[in-house]
């Protein structure tokens, strides 16, 4: 059961959009932005408000990679594995990140909720390959060592705040 504050916040988000089927994706998007994930309990609530079935809401929300039902870390690292990044050795970068953080293709988020490591199909930054993003910031021409360095910086940043 979610804390009532989640519903208050959701009401606030819902009030910004017309109560129609087409508002579903923008609403889930804003929920994702707010919490870094989509608390699954909110889907039936949203569905009811905009007049669709919870099955439809789940169908849409589960389709998009961008929406996650699992809470994500403070830093979401998206390693590009599109064609250009892949041929320029994005996998060793991914492997280094995962081994440093104890993550795998099943476990994406560290227990301290600091890091989430995912792959994306293409960031559209092929000239910077191999690239990755930390939250909204792009890091170009990555190597495994640069990845280790990046994690160190991010940890320091986290300890300061």
């Amino acid at each position: 059961m979610l804390d009532s504050s989640f519903y208050t916040k959701t009401d606030e988000i819902l009030s910004k959009y017309p109560a129609q089927e087409r508002s579903l994706i923008p609403i889930i998007h804003e929920i994702q932005e707010t919490y870094n994930y989509v608390p699954i309990e909110l889907l039936p609530y949203i569905a009811k408000h905009i007049g669709i079935t919870e099955t439809k809401a789940y169908s849409v929300a589960s389709f998009y990679e961008r929406f996650s039902f699992e809470p994500k870390g403070k830093f979401i690292i998206r390693v590009c594995d599109g064609t250009a990044c892949h041929v320029r050795q994005s996998l060793p970068v991914l492997e280094r990140l995962r081994s440093e953080l104890g993550l795998s293709d099943k476990k994406h988020t560290t227990d301290d909720m600091l890091f989430t490591v995912e792959t994306v199909s293409c960031l559209g930054a092929c000239s910077l390959a191999p690239a990755l993003m930390v939250n909204e910031h792009v890091h170009p021409a990555m190597t495994p060592d640069k990845a280790t360095e990046l994690l160190k910086e991010l940890r320091e940043e986290a300890s300061k705040s």
């Binding site: 099955t55 809401a57 389709f63």
Partner: protein, 562 residues
């Protein structure tokens, strides 16, 4: 309107919605996995692809016919393409075909045979998901799903339920209830229409064959069956018989041979339903409301009303559905040691319906905590049992159903058609046995095509406004109009399945337009051939009011829903 060329032959078309229909009209049965004329067009399976004179390939289901068009339906390229599609589908399909419940009746399997797919070059898929046995009506086996979406579209588009839908994507894509819940935890109404359209074994009937068979073999158990009206016009299809032919005589004979001690006719129960429901209607009509009175025969509809329209639940007739009527009365009858001969009694319903499997478990239909019917077997399960026992159905000589519950009226037998309950109820209000009056009712609009029919019936100088609706999405829209005051009726019949029980979730699948029409006419013809037309003139039904019911109508014949 126009003429197009199909494989070099000119074919005229009129209002066909797509090229596929024209091709099939021309006598070419293109394989499809996602096309059903009553569902929205999806274009996912691509098996109906054709080639035009410029060598372009497109799906014929989602293209309109145009005058002067020339298409080919099975060029070597198309044949190669179709075979490749099936190979890919089989590669991602959990292929335990020899032991699959759908084996022999599987559309995917049949098409693979037809197209000569003899091997699958991409390996074998292991089981990944658990089967879902949570529902008393259907079993879900997601490993068999080929993502054609037929079930999703029938559940959402025709039934307005949307209990299942696509989720996830790519190789993880599957059809599941929201949040991967069990189907029994959703708003599923158990109608089984998903199972009817499912081309594979991904959705099948939750079978009760085993316990029934065990009881049949037990000399200390007296097993009786009742056979619903719609079963008799569909069962023949399972044995390669004529579409829509009434094979009740052979069904009774086959069930006797399987070891059922008595075989009764649910038409008798239908007459009981009419006797009680028409009384109820007249009371409401005289009292001036609350309108409309809603029929109670269809359990999928009742569940739908309870979950979606709770405010209309008090309008649903409390009269038992036919199966419950017969079940309840037979229970009374067999309570007598002279009838049970000291044996345990097992009550089985042979139904066209998967939702009846859920209905018999309902608390409001139990008496003294005990179910009125022990098991429901669908038409399809009965066919399976007859085949398994090696009984040659075609060679059987027909037998009459057993007394005292083996006789029904013409009104009772048409219950299996959409509009049949309404017609039987209003027929019982007709004065005497005036043929002209019964004929007028027949032509009043109660019969006919389309999921919604509205008409007026004249009763003793008053007008009864009635509506007949089938398909729950249509019923949903109707209730909304009633609630908003846009429509008014005194009496509404609702059946969850389009065209009624003849197209129920437990019937033999793969019924096209001609099958649907044939089943409908089969029941109407059975009515014509029945001496007693009106439920309230069935002497065997009337007699039990004195012998068995003895003033306990409320206890024995009515639900305690409210």
């Amino acid at each position: 309107m126009g003429i197009m060329k199909i494989d070099g032959y000119p074919v005229e078309f009129t209002d066909e919605p797509n090229i596929l229909s024209v091709i099939r009209k021309a006598g070419i049965d293109l394989p499809t996995l996602c096309y059903h004329s009553e569902l929205s067009i999806y274009g996912a399976c691509r098996l109906c692809n054709v080639e035009d004179d410029k060598g372009r390939m497109f799906a014929s289901c989602s293209e309109r016919p145009r005058d002067g068009m020339s298409i080919k339906t099975s060029t070597p390229r198309l044949v190669r393409y179709r075979r490749m599609l099936i190979e890919l589908m089989l590669a991602s399909h959990y292929r335990d075909c020899t032991t699959c419940v759908k084996s022999g009746d599987c559309v995917l399997q049949n098409i693979a045979h037809r197209l000569g797919v003899n091997s699958v070059p991409w390996g074998y898929r292991e089981r990944r998901y658990e089967k879902d046995f949570s529902s008393p009506s259907i079993v879900r086996d997601p490993d068999k799903c080929i993502l054609c979406g037929d079930c999703v579209r029938v559940c959402e588009g025709i039934q307005g339920i949307n209990a299942i839908d696509f989720a996830h994507r790519g190789t993880d894509a599957m059809v599941i209830p929201a949040f991967n819940k069990h189907i029994a935890e959703t708003n599923c109404v158990n109608c089984g229409q998903c199972r009817v359209v499912c081309p594979t074994g991904a959705i099948s009937i939750n079978t009760n064959i085993r316990p029934v068979w065990e009881a049949l073999a037990d000399p200390n158990v007296k097993v009786f069956a009742q056979v619903a009206p719609a079963v008799r016009v569909a069962a023949g299809q399972g044995f390669g018989g004529v579409r829509g032919e009434n094979v009740m005589g052979k069904i009774v004979a086959a069930l006797h041979r399987l070891g059922f001690d008595e075989v009764y006719d649910t038409t008798f129960g239908a007459d009981m339903t009419i006797l009680e429901e028409s009384k109820e209607f007249l009371e409401v009509f005289k009292k001036g409301g609350p309108f409309p009175l809603l029929t109670s025969c269809c359990p999928a509809w009742v569940k739908f009303c309870e979950t979606r329209w709770p405010e209309f639940v008090p309008n649903i007739s409390t009269s038992y559905s036919p199966i419950q009527m017969l079940g309840s009365i037979a229970r009374e009858y067999y309570a007598d040691p002279a009838h049970n001969q000291g044996k345990k009694v097992l009550s089985v319903g042979i139904m066209p319906c998967t939702a009846k499997k859920a209905e018999i478990l309902r608390e409001d239909l139990k008496r003294d905590g005990k179910q009125n019917i022990d098991y429901v077997l669908t038409t399809q399960e009965m066919i399976t049992m007859i085949k398994r026992a090696g009984i040659r159905f075609d060679d059987l000589e027909g037998e009459a159903a057993d007394m005292p519950f083996g006789m029904g009226s013409g009104g009772g037998v048409i219950f299996g058609n959409s509009g049949g309950v309404m017609e039987a109820a209003l027929r019982s209000l007709c004065e005497g046995s005036d043929r002209a009056e019964i004929e007028n009712l027949r032509n009043s609009g109660v019969r006919g095509p389309g999921p919604l029919r509205e008409f007026i019936f004249k009763y003793k100088g008053n007008e009864i406004k009635a509506a007949v609706v089938s398909g729950l999405a249509e019923a949903d829209a109707l209730l909304r109009r009633i609630k908003n005051g846009e429509s008014f009726y005194h009496f509404v019949e609702v059946m969850a399945c389009r065209r009624g029980c003849i197209m129920g979730g437990g019937q033999p699948a793969h019924g096209g337009f001609r099958t649907k029409e044939a089943r409908k006419h089969g029941l109407y013809e059975s009515d014509i051939n029945t001496q007693i037309k009106k439920s309230n003139e069935n002497p065997t039904a009337l007699a039990i009011y004195d012998t068995l019911i003895k003033g306990r109508e409320h206890e024995l014949l009515h639900s305690h829903r409210h």
